[in-house]
Symmetry: C2
Subunit: 390 residues, 2 copies
């Protein structure tokens, strides 16, 4: 039942240990659900309670630590030896007198891993301030260091198998956007359109089940186009309004985000048409430029240069690294396409370019989800780059 074979996970753990050694980390406490999945295969909507994977330089296999009722899920979804699956009792959950990290500290002490340098994911959601306080209190001999985004950076370069999964997600993304364009019509309630979109997200294709995306369908219409992260309501779509769509196809937690803009009428405002032209042309020029060896900030500079003849301004970052993820974000929190990010792009990295432009009354969004090849890049999906009118 684990999604990949054991070789794949061993390779990931090996790379993680190399990164740990480079940072002087003996033991890494991995709390972020995508990182836990990446290292072990562990899957399950159990990340509303504390859980973690321990990676020690002194043991080949990682350990999974979580709530008792989730231990069977760990046995089923990982290759881990059952000795490396440890469960805490239910009275640790949302208790005022004990904390799951006390249990984690006990296991660390039992293994004799409490005297070295312990890395924690300082700025990952799912590793709270209290998690740190409890570990620090229970492990007085340890030296704590920041291991934030260490596994995220290992995730940045995908295996061929992972890219195959992302291409499957891309196939689903095409169907998802088709469903959006088909179902968003004047007079339709936003919630009913969202329902048809998410249905296809979960269904997937004939061969491959869809998965829940790390972000729900975002469909900003009318006045809400000014506010990029609002969700749906009973409100009905009106004629001559724009709908900005940020969606994704997902296969086994691997994402292929897809964004397009629909105008519900035959005559979009001139500003929207002009913006769309500039943005689509700039995006295409940027895509033609992306290949291994250039930096993240080079990509953004190319984009800025490509639109410099216009009045379009994009203030937020142009894009970021994508792949395996769980709610609340499909971004990997590593590469950001923006000035100052000097990450050199490599083969098998995957990026989401999302130039969203918002004026006071008009917005336009379109995107590209790609991965880098030997000498260029490939799109995860085949979908028209255009402003849709209907």
């Amino acid at each position: 039942m684990p999604v990949f074979d054991q070789t794949e996970y061993k390779e990931r753990v090996k790379k993680t240990k190399e990164a740990m050694q480079a940072k002087g980390i003996d033991l890494l406490v991995v709390s972020q659900p995508a990182n836990m999945n990446y290292l072990t295969g562990y899957d399950g909507w159990s990340f509303y309670v504390h859980q973690c994977v321990l990676v020690s330089l002194n043991q080949e296999e990682p350990m999974w630590l979580g709530r008792g009722m989730d231990a069977n899920g760990a046995k089923m979804s990982t290759h881990l030896n059952h000795d490396n699956i440890r469960q805490y009792a239910d009275h640790y959950v949302h208790s005022t007198v004990r904390h799951p990290m006390n249990f984690v500290a006990d296991v660390i002490k039992e293994k004799g891993w409490d005297k070295g340098s312990i890395g924690v994911e300082m700025d990952q959601f799912y590793f709270t301030h209290r998690s740190f306080v409890e570990l620090e209190k229970d492990l007085p001999n340890a030296k704590f260091v920041d291991g934030d985004v260490l596994v995220n950076w290992v995730r940045a370069i995908k295996s061929d198998k992972e890219l195959e999964f992302m291409m499957r997600a891309g196939k689903i993304a095409e169907k998802v956007m088709d469903a959006a364009i088909e179902n968003i019509n004047v007079g339709v309630r936003e919630c009913d359109a969202a329902a048809e979109i998410v249905r296809v997200q979960y269904q997937g294709t004939d061969g491959h089940a869809g998965d829940y995306p790390s972000i729900v369908p975002l469909m900003m219409a009318g006045e809400a186009t000014k506010a990029p992260h609002l969700t749906w309501s009973e409100r009905k779509f009106k004629s001559d309004e724009a709908v900005l769509l940020e969606l994704s196809g997902v296969y086994r937690h691997y994402h292929a985000p897809i964004a397009r803009t629909i105008f519900l009428g035959q005559n979009p405002p001139q500003l929207m048409k002009d913006t769309a032209e500039v943005v689509m042309d700039g995006l295409q020029k940027t895509l033609d430029f992306i290949k291994p060896g250039i930096t993240a900030e080079d990509v953004e500079a190319k984009w800025r240069d490509a639109i410099s003849h216009s009045t379009v301004v994009k203030e937020s970052r142009l894009g970021y690294s994508i792949g395996l993820n769980y709610p609340p974000d499909w971004g990997e929190q590593t590469i950001s396409l923006r000035p100052g990010d000097k990450t050199v792009l490599k083969k098998n990295m995957a990026l989401h370019l999302i130039p969203g432009i918002w004026y006071e009354d008009v917005g336009f969004e379109i995107d590209a989800s790609i991965y880098l090849t030997d000498d260029g890049n490939v799109s995860l999906f085949n979908y028209p780059i255009q402003l849709f009118t209907k």
Copy 2:
């Protein structure tokens, strides 16, 4: 566009300030998305970046602080004076050289709130260890104290308007479970059933849009009934297997969780039938007992007593407080129905009772979502308490 009128939010802020005074907290940094929504109305899938609401005893209105692109969403979804909506620049997002909490600290200093006692939500996801480190570094004159679950406890007692919303969620829950029972059949892919379920979750009823639940549909079938938090795949349902369903109807982030068990065949194993009888009878006796004045542990004791004549054992907690929530959890992290929880139940509290029983080969789940009235309790939905066979 805010969901409730200003009076409702003012009352919530007033109660929060009373709880702050009782704990000696001058300023509370609220990071949990449901708490942020509760205090201001702020809504949006923006909780993948750092954001917060500040509640100060020295200012009537709370402040919203978040990413620049989400400020319009804050203006649209809250009653806040625009002076109390503050936005940080995009280069704070996933940066290695600056952190959104540096911006939060700047605002706290500007307001002169940096010399008193500052409460932080120590164990809420969305408030990371790094969030704390940055605040502590930037605010050397402040005394930091634990303000964890302070707002969650204010949320525990619902207003009549909130209960109306939960009853709407209950109506949606009925439709959601109908969709599950209709679409789960031998030979159907799990993902296709999940797709039909989530469709109804988002659609809602004719009058009221559904909302995204804080937990995706959980449908454990076959071997996976041993692992309560696994999600769907391409796998097809088989004859003579059980499917355990944990779903929810949701209206404007208010939840009515609903759980039932289906057996795909006419002859469930005797152990399952016997367990179902015991659990359903025990649940009914427990429901008959719940009213204001008893404690959370009294409820669990009643349940344990009601099933004591049988061999059924429920090791994890029997239930918890529910209401407004965002992913990853619909539980409020306050009341737990288990030994040791001496919370006295009050009118307008809402509870989810979920006696899930798992043996090595057989599982059974059923639930009740209720709120307390003057002298008893009322169910959020009207759905048969039975083991479904088909």
